[in-house]
């Protein structure tokens, strides 16, 4: 396995000291019309941490992701990335700053090859435009070569380098999930947000995925994970934030969360006797 | 010359003039086919009449430009590469004339257009260019004169269709009428609803309306003007002198059409009209007579023993005979030397002559 920390400087070399706060979600509220999707949510992610974000369906997890990646703009509150607010930034700017994500229902570029998908990710750090491509200027060549090498490395890291020239749409489901993670890593992020990466996986694949997430973290990335599969979440995260009805109801280490009555109630529902 | 070309030697033998062809250049299909058809038929009639008596048939080859200048260069180049074509009736429109003109000029193919009226066409220095009808600059003043002197209209509203023919003509009429013009408006070709124009005319309350354009719009325009309450004189030019204008029925009654074409009270013209109707089952449409004249000039040349383009060009330049529409003689720019403009009136559902505009 190649040492990924030695690649592109912007990609992996942490700017903030290890253990410092990478992302801070501060009192974020998000309303759609009359519906409050996020209600005064606050949490932090430390450098090198794997943070799980869980909650029942409709609790606001993906909304929270979307707020962090700039898809939605919070109604109030602030989101700080490496100490600077990213509210109001364009989506691609946030990505270029160092937040990457995957999607709950895979959103690859289906008619591009696996390699090209990852190249689109590496392009986030590149600057060559049309003219340098047209005249094949040295910078273009350099960036193409670097991007290509980096992309192949990531594919290898994910174990799908043999399928580099396959169309993304032709990959198996699991490989598509892996490719999505590779593409996210290619943008050179500090924080990777994984949105239900295990959906549709069988137990064996889930175990593999757990290992993979740990490996990603070990490369120096910070991971924010939304996942329904509790075995996986409990097994891989350092800390868990639980949302229900857009509100944070619990936060803590996996073991604490599992025994938290509020969490159990949120997931399994409450008996009428308990409720009244 | 070269052996290249698609000459077919039917009727082999005879003298060299047997393989000669004329070309029609203009719209046969497409949106402008309406104006092309009488021109083709007029030229065809001349050729048919010639072939009835001649030993060797002359063929009329149709180059269908659909009226589009885009297609013109390719077709013109095709015409010039066929050496048996020694004269072109057309191009029908000014636009395609402008695009094809340089090619004909470069290769020395004489052309006589029966319908392109843009005055600037004659200013390009193409010695092959001829025009069998008066351009906008000759007809416009006549129309203005008619409005001033004969109709004695005290106020005139001038409308044009933004086409180069219509806008050119209307511009000249407007200039010549000067203060008599109480308002102007421009419509678009293919427009069908003229309510804004009708309101403008009603507001200006003119004694007469002059429209520079073609019959398709004129037919609708006069109908809507009459419906809108306009009861003055409607004056139009040769682009409207077509049986289709009579589709406007009662609304067209009393409309004045100016045209640089001899009325069919003249026996030669009457013969043409009779022959045309016998051949095609309809009255001659706009520019049919001009096309007939143009073709006849070339045919006279062939009868005279002309066998190539050079001789034909010389023949056309020196031609001076009476045609159906006018005395056919060209000045050194290719313009007709002798243009008379006549007035016509729509009376009882027919276009009848009203005398020459002096």
């Amino acid at each position: 396995m190649p040492d990924l920390t030695k690649q592109e400087p912007a990609a992996a070399a942490p700017v903030a000291p290890r253990g410092g706060t990478v992302l801070e979600v501060r009192n974020v509220t998000l309303k759609f019309g009359g519906l409050t999707a996020l209600d005064d949510v606050s949490f932090e992610i430390a450098e090198g941490e794997i943070l799980g974000l869980i909650g029942p369906n409709g609790a606001g997890k993906t909304t929270c992701f979307n707020a962090v990646t700039g898809v939605y703009r919070p109604t109030s509150g602030d989101i700080l990335f490496e100490g600077a607010s990213i509210i109001g930034l364009k989506k691609h700017k946030i990505t270029q700053k160092g937040i990457a994500r995957t999607f709950q229902n895979i959103r690859l570029f289906p008619t591009m090859t696996a390699l090209e998908n990852v190249l689109v990710g590496t392009d986030a750090q590149h600057t060559t435009g049309m003219l340098s491509a047209l005249f094949r200027l040295p910078r273009h060549r350099r960036e193409e070569e670097q991007g290509h090498a980096r992309a192949m490395e990531l594919l290898r890291f994910m174990g799908i380098h043999r399928k580099a020239d396959e169309l993304a749409a032709n990959l198996s489901y699991g490989d598509q999930r892996r490719l999505e993670i590779a593409r996210a890593m290619a943008t050179g992020p500090k924080l990777i947000c994984l949105d239900e990466p295990a959906a549709g996986f069988n137990p064996a694949e889930k175990v593999e995925l757990m290992n993979l997430i740990r490996k990603v973290r070990d490369q120096g990335y910070t991971v924010l994970l939304i996942e329904h599969d509790m075995k996986l979440v409990m097994g891989v995260t350092d800390r868990i934030v639980v949302l229900e009805f857009g509100r944070k109801i619990a936060e803590g280490a996996p073991a604490e969360i599992r025994d938290n009555p509020a969490v159990i109630a949120a997931y399994l529902g409450v008996d009428e006797e308990d409720a009244s | 010359m070269t052996a290249c070309g698609t000459t077919d030697d039917k009727e082999a033998g005879g003298d060299g003039a047997c393989d000669l062809k004329l070309a029609f250049f203009g719209p046969e299909t497409g949106d402008a086919a309406g104006l092309g058809k009488p021109i083709i038929q007029g030229a065809q009639l001349a050729v048919n009449q010639y072939n009835d008596d001649a030993e060797c048939d002359v063929e009329l080859e149709k180059k269908d430009s659909q009226g589009s200048p885009d297609a013109a260069p390719a077709l013109a180049t095709d015409v010039v590469s066929d050496d048996s074509i020694i004269g072109v009736v057309g191009p029908a429109f000014s636009g395609e004339s402008a695009a094809a003109g340089p090619i004909f000029a470069e290769e020395g193919v004489p052309t006589i257009t029966p319908s392109a009226t843009n005055p600037t066409l004659a200013d390009n220095g193409w010695d092959t260019f001829h025009r069998a009808l008066g351009n906008d600059a000759t007809q416009g003043p006549a129309a203005a004169k008619y409005i001033k002197d004969t109709i004695k209209a005290e106020s005139v509203f001038v409308i044009d269709d933004a086409s180069e023919y219509g806008a050119g003509l209307a511009g000249i009429v407007e200039k010549d009428l000067g203060d008599l013009v109480t308002g102007t408006d421009t419509i678009q070709q293919k427009q069908t609803d003229f309510s804004a124009t009708v309101t403008k005319v009603n507001d200006a309350k003119p004694a007469a309306v002059f429209f520079g354009g073609y019959y398709a719009e004129a037919t609708l325009l006069i109908g809507q003007l009459r419906d809108g309450g306009f009861d003055g004189t409607f004056i139009v030019a040769d682009g409207v002198k077509d049986p289709a204008f009579l589709d406007a029925k009662a609304a067209a009654e009393g409309a004045i059409i100016t045209c640089p074409c001899i009325p069919d009270t003249d026996p030669a013209v009457a013969d043409f009209a009779t022959a045309y109707e016998a051949e095609f089952g309809e009255a001659p449409g706009t520019y049919a007579a001009e096309a007939y004249d143009a073709a006849n000039i070339f045919l006279a040349g062939i009868k005279d023993g002309v066998e190539d383009r050079e001789a034909m060009l010389e023949f056309v330049n020196g031609y001076d005979e009476k045609g159906v529409t006018k005395q056919l003689k060209f000045d050194d720019k290719g313009e007709p030397a002798d243009v008379h403009v006549y007035a016509y009136t729509v009376k009882d559902g027919a276009i009848v002559a009203d005398g020459e505009i002096e």
């Binding site: 990646t69 990457a100 047209l134 | 070269t2 340089p102 470069e106």
Partner: protein
């Protein structure tokens, strides 16, 4: 294609060279099956080359970036009018100076149109661009300064190389007799003399432009820019979240397309020596789009084929004049029904189609999920 890419590089270069040579020699060969019986073959080929340019340009907009443009003829008109104004109507610039200005003006107008409208949704973009194309034409019709319907003539021509009488040398055409092929020394093309009646030098000029644009297309497509376009087309949100400034790249595609369209218009005006608004009807936008879609949007070779067919077939079969448009319409309906991906779709589309089919079978006739793909039904 596959076999071709397997060949060693020198062989590949040789093959491409031969193909190019054949393309350049085409009007001289006058092949009986290809030649147009009722129209000058070289002029038709020039028209084909202009359509090829237009199709390549529109393919960037529609095929690569996925932006539906129904007013592409507007940029073509801007290129043509700029050249006409500068070389004839309001100036007497040499053509070679006017063309760069024309393409830049077309490109700027692309930015001006694109900047506000590329934010609106896809279908709206189609109708806004349609309106734009019509506005350009109508402004030309109604503005004296642009010549109105009278148009502009005596547009500048490319400079001649060598003596005007003979050119550098003369190239004979072939003559196909009954079973014999002869060099026809009387029918020659003066090399690089841009006269009026010989379209061959113009065709060479057009073809050279096509080759250059094609090369640029290959270079750009295979770069960060090309990938950004494709990613944006496939899934705009995902592309944005992968760090692609999608708006910027859409605008770039739009203005690049406008650039090529302007170039095509400029060359067209020069050959035609005369333009008027009739050459820029909405119908042409539709024909151009049809060329792209018929050939296979997204595949540069496909759109070239499409452009060839759309420009050439009507000229080849002038005999069917009256029924040309009818046949064209029928062809479009049949194509959409039977071969919606075009005659020569991008290879990846073919692969994706196969996959889709397999998946269909897996689901037993179920409708496949079109993730991120625009479908007729939302």
């Amino acid at each position: 294609m596959k076999k071709l890419s397997a060949l060693p590089k020198p062989a590949k270069i040789l093959i491409w060279f031969l193909i190019a040579l054949f393309a350049y020699a085409l009007p001289l060969l006058e092949l009986p099956i290809l030649s147009t019986p009722d129209s000058d073959f070289a002029s038709v080929l020039f028209t084909v080359s202009i359509y090829c340019l237009v199709a390549l340009g529109l393919n960037i907009v529609v095929g690569y970036a996925g932006l539906l443009d129904l007013g592409y003829v507007g940029f073509y008109a801007i290129g043509a009018y700029t050249v006409a104004i500068l070389t004839s109507f309001h100036g007497s610039w040499p053509l070679l100076l006017a063309i760069p200005v024309a393409v830049v003006v077309a490109m700027i107008s692309g930015v001006i149109l694109g900047a506000p409208t590329l934010r609106v949704r896809g279908d709206y973009l189609a109708i806004v661009t349609l309106g734009f194309g019509e506005i350009i034409r109508l402004v030309a019709v109604n503005t004296e300064w642009l010549g109105g319907n009278k148009g502009i003539n005596n547009i500048g021509r490319p400079p001649n190389l060598g003596d005007e009488k003979t050119g550098l040398f003369e190239v004979p055409h072939l003559f196909w007799g009954d079973g014999t092929v002869l060099l026809d020394n009387k029918d020659t093309t003066k090399f690089l003399i841009f006269g009026y009646s010989d379209a061959v030098p113009y065709y060479w000029m057009g073809l050279t432009a096509v080759v250059l644009v094609l090369l640029a297309d290959i270079l750009i497509k295979n770069s960060r820019v090309g990938r950004a376009w494709e990613a944006t087309r496939e899934d705009e949100d995902a592309a944005e979240l992968m760090g692609v400034p999608t708006f910027k790249f859409k605008l770039l595609a739009f203005s690049t397309g406008a650039f090529v369209g302007g170039l095509a218009g400029a060359l067209f005006a020069s050959r035609q020596s005369f333009i008027n608004p009739q050459s820029f009807l909405l119908l042409f936008s539709i024909l151009y789009l049809a060329a792209v879609v018929v050939g296979g949007q997204g595949n540069r070779w496909g759109v070239l084929l499409g452009a060839f067919l759309v420009a050439y077939l009507p000229e080849r079969f002038r005999g069917f004049e009256d029924f040309r448009v009818l046949a064209f319409g029928l062809a479009l309906v049949l194509l959409a029904t039977l071969r919606p991906e075009g005659l020569l779709p991008p290879r990846r589309t073919v692969r994706a189609k196969q996959l889709e089919h397999e998946l269909d079978e897996l689901e037993e006739g179920a409708e496949p999920d079109h993730d991120g793909e625009e479908t007729a039904r939302a």
